[in-house]
């Protein structure tokens, strides 16, 4: 792996690593601490930097491959940085039956990105998701940690607007 050796890149790597080490220190005592550590890192950095997987592996006496296997298994862990807010639109059966596809189209148009993409301003990442466990209130979307049910294209766009304004103020 060729590394960027500019001062900025070095400092950024150091700060990422510090967060990773903090997450390890905070959870290492737990039984089965790998998932809590990964959640902590994902929450604080918005992703799990691949080059610091080695720190996690060493701390838990695992191989890099094992940690990589776990990270890649769960969709909620990502290895590249996300937008500030993640918008997940459910595409499972119940949501599709109740008009989820319209919500999907509206959100894509509004943000100008497809699934798995991040807006140019780095504000939003759009993800598809297959069931949020909220089928009774389909269609559903999740914005950050909050799940919204009975969403319409209009209410979804409103929600995004609110976030944008909240962010601007």
């Amino acid at each position: 792996m060729s590394r960027d050796t500019s001062q900025e890149a070095v400092l950024e790597r150091a700060s990422l690593r510090a967060s990773v080490l903090d997450a390890i220190a905070a959870n290492k005592h737990l039984k089965g601490s790998l998932l809590p550590i990964l959640h902590d890192i994902q929450n604080s950095l918005g992703h799990i930097p691949s080059e610091h997987v080695v720190d996690i592996a060493e701390a838990l006496n695992l191989s890099r491959a094992e940690v990589h296997g776990v990270i890649s298994f769960y969709h909620s862990f990502t290895t590249s940085p996300h937008g500030k807010t993640v918008v997940e639109v459910c595409r499972a059966e119940s949501c599709q039956a109740k008009g989820g596809r319209l919500v999907e189209a509206a959100v894509k148009a509004k943000l100008g990105v497809d699934f798995k993409q991040t807006t140019d301003d780095g504000e939003f990442t759009l993800e598809d998701v297959y069931c949020l466990g909220n089928c009774a209130c389909s269609p559903s979307i999740r914005v950050g940690a909050d799940i919204y049910g009975r969403v319409t294209p209009e209410s979804a766009l409103q929600l995004i607007d609110t976030l944008k304004t909240a962010d601007a103020s």
Binding site: N61, L62, S63, R64, A65, E66, H68, G69, S72, F73
Partner: protein, 967 residues
């Protein structure tokens, strides 16, 4: 009755019995709990814990399977092995379902057949249909199973989303990874974890996106993969395939033989096409390796047919002359007349021979016989002199036999393992993997090593204590361990009273109790904090079965023999000897170190470790050979070299050993070799020693000859000829030819006749025959009328010498002192991919991993000297100077530097000194006081390295003929 496992059959899941239980169970079934029932109407009885799949396989009812193989635990993912069990709902997987008492299993009916076909249909819908041109054609379990389940069409078509375009990873020099052929059965991932213990592979992603990933989605070569081949062995499809098979196609016949690399002595199947080896696969019936392998034995056999092989005898008058290719007869008579001429001029004792730990028992036997009977003196030594001679001496003194006490299976029952001065995962990788498996299952680990070897901490392995001692202070450490055990009254008083000599023990007790041996005093010498040492001693003494494994980090010291005796003392003191799971285990460096010592290639001992000064022993040999044997011990290797420098020793025959590279203080060795009038080298290649020779006799590799090797557990295993010797003669025939030219007749037509002679003259080998080796695969000596089945564990009821003997082991500091001028200690070791002087492995793709020797230096020492990673550095000792590239690492501790000695141009032994073990003259390779400094840009090489290059180039040129022979 439990059936003997057929090593050529895959039973699908492992036996619930340990290897040892399996063996014992065959003798007497009483202790093993069994269950009985029926499979397809046939009655079957198996050990409790056996899977339905394995139970069926013992009846030769072979349930279709994909994700199961008997080297790894059942996984239950492929869903092909479904069966019906009376009284149970559904169709359980036979691999994960234990066979139970009274169970009635049906393995085939129409419902099961349809289920299996449906599953197979899904697999094949995402698999290339190129069977005819596929590299696994003829060796593909997927193909076999598609046939077995009767798949006739795939209803889903092949156009849907698939993995057929996945890109091949060809980064490993020996095998390719083709994910388009992968069925994600995880066998490779599990083999890497369970068999090898490296954990380099994983399944990445989930569902349809699941795929095998090395490291973090890297090429195999960039991951932690150590290329042991376990994944390739486990793969049921063409996904992981040897490049040699892709190139040549499937083998058509095979022979079982024994690996010629380290002292583990793995059994391999040499898989052949005609006389060409296309693949070496680990043999499940091999009792040393149990079906596992490493990158050397599995893949690095290409040296046997390397273009550097010299295939014609050569002679010359002086080392300034061009070599002349001659017939065998001419070479023999030239060599014999030179040797006889020297003896006439300088006396009988002016010539001698060195045998090799890389050659077979039979070959070593002949070399020592030729020296004793043909040369008429005892100037015979072996390269084991420079590695494990202190083991022979120390264990003989204390326990009565110059060998390790256990078999490798024993480690499965150890509770505490102490590894001292050994690096099993690099130098004895297959045993290293077996040890790691036991450690993952709960055994506790103490590592005594100046350097952080991989066992100290690697995935799922962590040493409880890593005692980082200063090189050269082993004796102080081992004494402090015993002191703590005595002080805390943790010793096994009953064992000592019953099994050991009382008077010697009392004397030893008085010595060991002395305050000078306390951990607190030892700390000042070894650098090991007293508290850590005390904890380690208590762990060793108190937690059940404790075993000690040690290597050259123990023996290659000025007090090597003392440490070996200290280790034996410790084992006797705690009663950790004479049963499974315990013992004193020397890990032998080369394949036949044990054997070359057993065969009497020592200047003071006849075969079986019996003194040449003993008239009675000598008499038996004199009678058998019809000659008089010199009653006076001869020269050791170092004596030979000293005598050559002094002009007293003029002729030397060296078989399969490269003293110019491997022996210490290269300047001295070179001076000695230059002083010889006749140097005869028998080797595969024009090695460093051969560059000083006037007679070159081409040797044969282990693939080209018959014989036996004896591994670290005293296991005698057959070496079988799979191709004709390139130069026409096997090594034993060469020695015989030379000996006959000298006028001492030898007439053997096959090595089996040599073994018959060995057995007739060596009490510990009395009942060993080729017929038995063919029938039993291997035998552990002693094997005679008292122990007709051989001896996996020694000293069970009595020590070989009767009572165990405690020896007083006083610590004496080495003369090799650090000073202002030489403030650092250099210690040397090995690396996984290379073997010894590298003559074999350097001529294979193993160089991909290690193409040069590197100096390891601690960050604080590097900082003091302005050294950063990759810098060229000068290493100076009292003996010499050489230059290497440096790596800055905390693997070594401050004031200790480390390197390997696999490449001749590194000149690692230019730096090592003449110091040696007080009892055996084993060189003190592990301790050299040095200074390290950065070199200036235009000084890539030291003076020695420049001279070496010029000399070596010239010698290679002198050996090159019109046909080939260029380096």
């Amino acid at each position: 009755m439990i059936k003997v496992e057929n090593p050529n059959k895959d039973y699908g899941t492992p036996s619930p019995l340990s290897f040892q239980d399996l063996l014992d169970g065959l003798d007497s079934n009483q202790d093993i709990e069994t269950v009985s029932g029926t499979i397809d109407g046939q009655s079957v009885t198996v050990p409790k814990g056996t899977s339905v799949m394995r139970a069926a396989a013992t009846l030769d009812v072979n349930i279709p399977k994909l994700c199961a193989t008997d080297s790894i635990e059942a996984f239950g993912s492929c869903r092909i092995c479904l069966v019906a069990i009376e009284g149970r709902r559904g169709f359980p997987a036979s691999c994960t379902t234990p066979f139970e008492e009274g169970m009635n299993v049906t393995t085939q009916n129409s419902e099961i057949a349809e289920l299996r076909r449906n599953v197979m249909e899904l697999y094949i819908s995402d698999h290339p249909l190129d069977c005819l041109t596929c590299s696994a054609n003829g060796d593909c379990e997927l193909q076999d199973m598609a046939g077995a389940v009767g798949l006739r069409d795939v209803r889903y078509g092949y156009e849907g989303e698939n993995h057929l375009d996945a890109v091949k990873d060809e980064s490993n020099p020996y095998f390719t990874f083709d994910p388009s052929k992968c069925i994600t059965c995880s066998r490779c991932v599990r083999a890497c974890e369970e068999t090898q213990g490296t954990f380099a592979l994983t399944i990445e992603g989930r569902g349809f996106d699941s795929k095998v990933s090395a490291g973090q989605s890297e090429d195999f070569i960039d991951s932690e993969c150590v290329s042991c081949g376990a994944c390739v062995q486990a793969c049921p499809t063409a996904t992981l395939t040897e490049k040699s098979i892709i190139e040549a196609g499937q083998p058509e016949h095979s022979k079982i033989t024994t690996c010629a690399y380290c002292g583990v002595g793995c059994a391999f199947k040499a898989e052949m096409k005609g006389d060409q080896v296309v693949r070496m696969t680990p043999y499940k019936g091999g009792k040393a390796n149990r079906g596992h392998s490493c990158v050397k034995g599995r893949f690095a056999f290409g040296y046997a047919t390397h273009r550097n092989r010299i295939t014609s005898p050569m002679i010359r008058d002086s080392i300034e002359d061009q070599w002349k290719e001659v017939s065998w007869e001419e070479a023999f008579s030239f060599a014999a007349s030179q040797l006889r001429g020297i003896q006439e001029k300088y006396g009988t004792k002016s010539i001698g021979g060195i045998s090799s730990s890389r050659c077979t028992n039979e070959e070593v036997w002949l070399v020592q016989k030729m020296v004793r009977a043909g040369f008429g003196n005892n100037n015979i030594d072996t390269c084991a002199r420079v590695c494990h001679s202190p083991t022979g001496y120390g264990l003989k003194q204390t326990l009565g036999e110059a060998a390790g006490t256990q078999d490798f299976d024993s480690v499965e029952e150890s509770d505490v393992i102490m590894v001292m001065g050994a690096n099993p995962t690099d130098a004895h990788p297959v045993f290293g993997s077996r040890m790691k498996k036991r450690l993952r299952d709960g055994a506790r680990l103490i590592v005594v090593d100046p350097r952080r070897i991989d066992l100290v901490k690697s995935p799922h392995i962590q040493a409880e204590h890593h005692l980082k001692l200063m090189p050269g202070t082993n004796v102080s450490f081992i004494n402090a361990m015993a002191h703590v055990i005595v002080r805390d009254k943790l010793f096994d008083a009953d064992f000592v009273a019953e099994r050991c000599e009382g008077e010697a023990f009392d004397e030893w007790m008085a010595f060991i109790r002395d305050e000078m041996n306390s951990p607190e005093n030892s700390e000042a010498i070894t650098g090991i904090p007293a508290a850590d040492l005390i904890a380690a001693a208590r762990l060793y003494a108190q937690e059940g079965n404790s075993a000690i494994y040690y290597g050259l980090g123990v023996t290659e010291h000025s007090q090597g023999s003392t440490t070996v005796m200290g280790i034996a003392n410790l084992a006797m003191l705690t009663g950790n000897i004479g049963r499974r799971g315990v013992g004193v285990n020397p890990l032998r460096g080369q394949n036949n170190v044990q054997g070359s010592c057993d065969m009497g290639s020592f200047p003071h001992e006849l075969p079986g470790y019996r003194p040449v000064t003993d008239d009675e022993v000598r008499g038996t040999f004199e009678q058998a050979w019809g000659v008089e044997i010199d009653p006076e011990p001869g020269y050791r290797i170092n004596n030979m070299l000293d005598a050559a420098c002094a002009g007293l020793y003029k002729g030397l025959y060296v078989q399969g050993e490269d003293i110019a590279q491997s022996d210490p203080n290269t300047h001295h060795v070179e001076e000695a070799l230059n002083n010889l009038e006749c140097l005869i080298v028998q080797d595969l290649f024009l090695n460093e020693t051969a560059k000083f020779a006037t007679v070159f006799l081409p040797g044969s590799s282990f693939l080209e000859k018959n014989g036996t090797f004896t591994n670290a557990e005293r296991r005698i295993s057959p070496v079988r000829k799979v191709m004709p010797p390139l130069a026409g003669l096997e090594d034993w025939e060469v020695t015989m030819g030379l000996c006959n030219a000298l006028g001492f007749e030898m007439n053997y037509s096959h090595p089996r006749e040599i073994m018959a002679e060995i057995a007739s003259l060596t009490p510990t080998f009395a009942n060993v025959t080729y017929e038995r080796l063919d029938a039993e695969d291997s035998i552990q000596w002693p094997c005679n009328d008292e122990t007709p089945d051989g001896t996996p564990i020694m000293h069970i009821d009595d020590f070989v010498r009767g009572k165990g003997l405690f020896k007083v082991t006083e610590y004496v500091a080495t003369d090799e002192k650090i000073t202002k001028r030489f403030p650092l200690i250099l210690t040397t070791g090995r690396i996984l991919s290379q073997y010894n002087v590298g003559a074999q492995t350097r001529r294979t793709e193993n160089n991909t991993w290690h193409d040069q020797d590197i100096l390891e230096i601690h960050p604080s020492d590097a900082l003091d000297r302005g050294i950063v990673d990759g810098d060229r550095v000068k290493i100076q000792s009292r003996s010499g100077e050489t230059h290497l590239n440096a790596i800055v690492t905390e693997r070594v501790q401050p004031s200790v530097v480390y390197t390997t000695f696999h490449h001749p141009e590194s000149g690692a032994n230019v730096i090592t000194t003449d110091n040696s073990d007080w009892a055996t003259n084993c060189p003190e390779y592990k301790v050299t006081a040095v200074q390290i400094s950065k070199v200036i840009a235009d000084q890539e090489q030291s003076d020695w390295q420049r001279q070496y290059e010029t000399f070596s180039d010239k010698q290679v040129e002198l050996a090159s003929s019109d046909t080939e022979q260029t380096a």
